[in-house]
Every structure is written in C-alpha cells, then in structure tokens.
Symmetry: C2
Subunit: 405 residues, 2 copies
Amino acid sequence: MTWLDLPADTLFGIDNLPYGVFSTADDPQRRRLGVAIGTWVLDAGAAARAVGSPDPLLEAPSLDPLLAAGRPAWTRVREALTRWLSDPAFRTVVEPCLVPAEGVALHLPFTVGDYVDFYASEHHASNLGRIFRPGSEPLTPNWKHLPIGYHGRSGTVVVSGTPVVRPNGQRKAPTDAAPTFGPSRRLDIEAEVGFVVGAASELGTPVAQEDFAEHVFGVCLVNDWSARDIQAWEYVPLGPFLGKSFATSVSPWIVPLDALPAARVAPPTRDVEPLPYLDDRDAKQPWGLDLAMEVRVNGSLISRPPFAGMYWTAAQQLAHMTVNGASVRPGDLFASGTVSGPDRGTEGALIELTWNGERPVTLDDGTTRSFLDDGDEVTITATAPGRDGGRIGFGEVTGRILPAR
Amino acid sequence: MTWLDLPADTLFGIDNLPYGVFSTADDPQRRRLGVAIGTWVLDAGAAARAVGSPDPLLEAPSLDPLLAAGRPAWTRVREALTRWLSDPAFRTVVEPCLVPAEGVALHLPFTVGDYVDFYASEHHASNLGRIFRPGSEPLTPNWKHLPIGYHGRSGTVVVSGTPVVRPNGQRKAPTDAAPTFGPSRRLDIEAEVGFVVGAASELGTPVAQEDFAEHVFGVCLVNDWSARDIQAWEYVPLGPFLGKSFATSVSPWIVPLDALPAARVAPPTRDVEPLPYLDDRDAKQPWGLDLAMEVRVNGSLISRPPFAGMYWTAAQQLAHMTVNGASVRPGDLFASGTVSGPDRGTEGALIELTWNGERPVTLDDGTTRSFLDDGDEVTITATAPGRDGGRIGFGEVTGRILPAR
C-alpha cells in the first residue's frame, strides 16, 4: 500500500511503477528520470536525494545507465522506490518530489540500440500471407520453426505524441505497368508490444530463454506504422524497408518485468515441436503475457488485440535473436510483431481489420476508414493483471498523421 | 607534397588522409583520433595542440563529434591536416605527433547508428536469384526501379581483426523434412563498400542526391559475413536476419569523400528509366566510384570485384533510404551490397565464386574451399585512383573464423 491516496482501480498503482523521462514547463531542457504513480510522476533522482540516498542511476537524463546496470540494480532501485512510496516515514521528504503527470512532457526514455521487429501472431502472419501472397500457403514453411523477425530502423523510433508525416515512396499495384511515386495511399498501424533490453550480452554467446529476465528490463507499447503500398512493392526479396522506416512510435512508460508476475500465462500449444533452444514446455513459467490491448482511431475503439495468444514469447524471441552469437546491448528494443487475435475486431492492423480495404471500419462519427487519413490520430493502450485483482497500465502510444511533404 | 619521406606509390599519401581511432601499447585504454600517412599514424589531437590550434573535434576518443560537425568542419579539419603535413614550417612541431602504424591498435572508429545493407550489384543479385530461386526470373521485378536494401544489426558491427565465431542456427535443405540446429556449414563473405554518414537529417525530410556530400563523411570496406544455410531457411518473407547478424566487419580507416575526386566515374547505363528522385543522368558528376577490390582467403587472391560497375550509386541509395522521410544521424552506416562483376573471378561472395559449392576455389596451398573453414582468414582490400596517377588505399578489413561454440 502506498501513502498516496489513489483510487482502487488506478492503472499506475504501487505494483506498477513504470519508468520514463520527463521535463516540466518551467525547465523544458532538463530531462529527469520519473516513475508514474497514480496521476503523479515521481522525480526519482530528487526522491533519492531527499531520502539521503542519492543514486547516479537516477540522476541521468535517460534510462540508459539504469538499463546498463543490470538485474541486481533494477531490483534494488525498485525496492527502494516501493519503500519510499509505501512507508509513511518517507512521506514528508518524498511527497515534494511528486509532479502532476498532466503537466509534464514525456520523452523517448532511452537511446535505442538495435530495433528488431518480430512476427509472432499466427493470426496476423496468416492474414498477411493471404493478402500479400494469395494462392500460396498463408504461413511460410519456416514460420512455426522459428520466430521470424527483421531489423527495423532504430533512428526513427519516436516517443508517443510525435506527429507522423505520411511517407512518400514507390507504389505499384500488380496491375500497374510501372511504379509511381507519391504519398502512401495505404498507411496503416501495427499494434505491438515492445521489450527493452537492459544488460548487455557478449558477442558470440547466446542468451538462453531462462536468462530472459537477466537481460530484459521492461515492456512498452509500439505502433509500427506501415505503408502497405510501399511495403508490397519493395519487400521481396530482402524484407520490409521504407514501408516501415519512416517512424515507429513507442509509449513513454517502460513497465518493468517485475511488475508483471500476475500477467504471466502459458502460451498457446504449439503444433510443431520446437528445437531445444526454443522449447519452453519444461519452463517453470514461460513468458506468455496476458496484455489486453485497445486500438482507437480518433477516439473510436476499432480493435481489442489479445497479446496472450501470441505463438512465440519474448523469451523465445530473445533466445532466437542471439542463438547465432549476436550480442544485445542496453537500449535494444524488440517488438512482438502485430498482435492479432483469431476473431473479427481483434486484429492489430487496418489491413486485416478491413481485409485489405474490402470492408472498411466505421468510426464513432460515422466516417469509414480502409487505411489512415491525414489528421487521424491513433492511440494504442493496454492493461494487464496486477496484484490482488487490480490492473497494471502501460499508458498509451499515440500519433497523428500529418500530410505528406 | 608532404615533408614526410614517402614512397611514390604509397597508398596513404597526402591526398588520402583517412581517419581512424588508435591506441598504443604503452596506454591501451587511451583511444585517440588518428590520420594515416605512409607507414605512420598522425595523432591528430596532439598535432592540433602542437601547432597551437587545439580542436575539440580531434580530442574525442572516436570520430563521433567530427562526424556530427558536418561538411564545413570536415573541410576545415582536412585543410588543416594537409597544411600541417605539407608546409615544412610545421615539421618540427608536428613530426613528434607521428606514431609508427605497425605499433598501434585500431578500433571501431565511430558509434554505429543504423546499419543498412543494399544489394546494388546487378551481377550479384542475378547470381543469388539463380541460386536461391531457381526457375524464377533472377532479378525481382522491383530491382531496377529501386535500390533494394534492408536494415542489419548495428550492434554487431566490429572492426577489422575481430575474430568471427561461426554461428549456430537452423538449417534446412529443401530435401530435409525439418530444420536441424548446429554450426553453419555454408559460411560466406560479402565484399562490400560502406558509406559513413556524418551530418544528421531531419525526420520527415528526404536527402536529395545532390546533397549526398553534405551528409556522407567517408568510405570504408565492409565484410558482411553471411551464413547461407541459415539465411536460405529464414529469409522468406521478412528478409535476412540471423544469417547476417552475428558479425559485420569494417575497415578501421574511413577515407573521406574529399580524397576521392579522381575516383568518380559514370555509373553503368540503366536500362529502366529511374523515377526523378533516383535519376542521376543530369547530375554534373554522379557518384560512381572506381574502387578496385581484392579478396584473399589465407593470403590467396580469390577475387577482384570491380566497384565501378555497381548499378546503384551511394547517392541514389541515400536518396532512396530517406525519400520516405526517414532521418539519418551521425554514425549511420550503409553498405553497397556485395560487389560482383560480370566475369569469373570478380564475384564478391563464395556462393557465387563457387556457384553454390559446385566449383570450389583452389587456394595457393592446394586446398579448396566451397565455403569457409574454421581458422580461415579473409582479407578484403581496395584502392582507387588518386591524384597525379597515384592510388588511394582503403587499408583492409580482415577476420578469422573461430569454431562454433
């Protein structure tokens, strides 16, 4: 219990404590490490100083040093924050370090190392296979043997709220004789869950599934904006490139793995036997996570993607990503791939929700969308089971489409 | 002319002056910015101090600040270095800042931002199409309309000399019922040329071909190690991933664009009309570059790839990479793709040289290779036309294969 007066159904309770980086209007250049609690942001560095335990990890203008410090430091810092916000003895000195959340600006909280995007929803991969490769098997033969992924552009990962300029590019419908150049006509979203690496691994040495929590710090929400017309023309044979690289938005709050014990669930049964490094059938608790996501366009709820059904877990993804000896480093971000469930209204991308534009979605104002219009604002939120029947919030990742330049 | 006594055929003459980062055995932790000249490395920061013009850009332990400083700073620094090494008046104070090259350790000279690998040799793309997709058109329909590329793993870009551990991974021959796990049996090289971005661009704003030299600082050599068996099984539909991400080696010396005026040549005639942003037919001088490359395995020359024949130039690649609004930042690295010429013995990868293992290459010791053995050392070198009929050297990128762990 915290000494703060929080509503029982808060999504930012004492069992959550996600980390972010904020600034305030009176000193917009000064970035500080913050922790969300209720409708407040705790200035973590100031709190540490106030209680007489200044901590260099909490004084940085980003999460980078904390990420690099590794699991023992993460545990120590979380325990301290929990104590300061729970033990009434700390109230007098810590309360002045709380800043109203509504007044702060939130920034990209860490320097993104490599950004990898996976493709772990069987429903999403099947849907896209049917749409992009009609007449072929929806899933490629490798799909159930390994978590398919690719590297995205880390330099264009932006924080929630950053406007997204509609990309220009080459588009060619199968019936066109040649490609044309211009603004994407099929601008889409991909609702995903991102995993933020903290502790580095050594080049040449894989990270086994059981070491997942030693390396992964926390979880955020990701909107992997996608220009489907650009993507469709460019992606054979080397994969998505400009159809994705113009922007990837992330939520500003990183929910620590330590906040998610009640969210862990068994992943779906796999119908192909995994190779040993991907096998999690004997794991005491595999890394399925029961996040309930919601996607809104201009405030209208258009989808409720269920993360619990993802075929591949983040622990499998990390094991796969490093099994060839590739190293990870602080700030590496890997995303789940679009989260799509089996049912109508649970798909995490418009191309699936509207079946390639054939059945547009209707928004609350009566307008319809096949893909995004200029001015549209997309917001993805999620919650997960927390302690004692409560819920853990992930905040939101949002972005508005600006016209092409 | 320099006051240093250099042989007429030196590859590191006063018209080259590539930048790197070095340390010496007496103080291995102290990284310094160096410039190669003859058989010497000039301690650039020390030289600036010695002549009474200390420069913070030259005092850093990496090229990062110099890269970020942009074209005017690059011109100023190069002019100063040229003056200090040319004007005999500087000799007394500058000569003590020269360190014998043979005694220094060379490091990864900059922090790699995003790493993009292109696919710009028509011969290479055609050869791989024939090998990976027999029975289909060798080139995909998009190949002559856009420079195909994908993002690689920047966290595993390593400097020349770093050993490369043979990757483990999933391999499946078309005749196998299921994939097996183990060390790659088809470990290959890709001889490439890399372009190092200096000045950043703004998110949402493309970089036109004519602004290439405002953003690109210099050129290095790249060996994009490739595990063909892992790659073949994983790469449909999202592109290469673990088949590449275990290591990418770069040469330690970054040759500035300013050293390459004599190397610029017209690219080959394109047989498909490019869209306007890719059109370089009216450019005063397009960015074809006449680098003559050599590939050696254990000292045996196995290939001489000709860079001048690349279908897409680096200026076209940068224009394409940013046409969707993606930004670049200091330290971004983009590589040409494997450099393969039209003739036998000019291919930049073993899979082409040996035609998928069907015609092994014979080394000087009489042994043959289809792909790389443990212990093999691969070295790629290149030179380009310099001033007055001389040659500019790029040094080398080398790496030895260690057994899988």
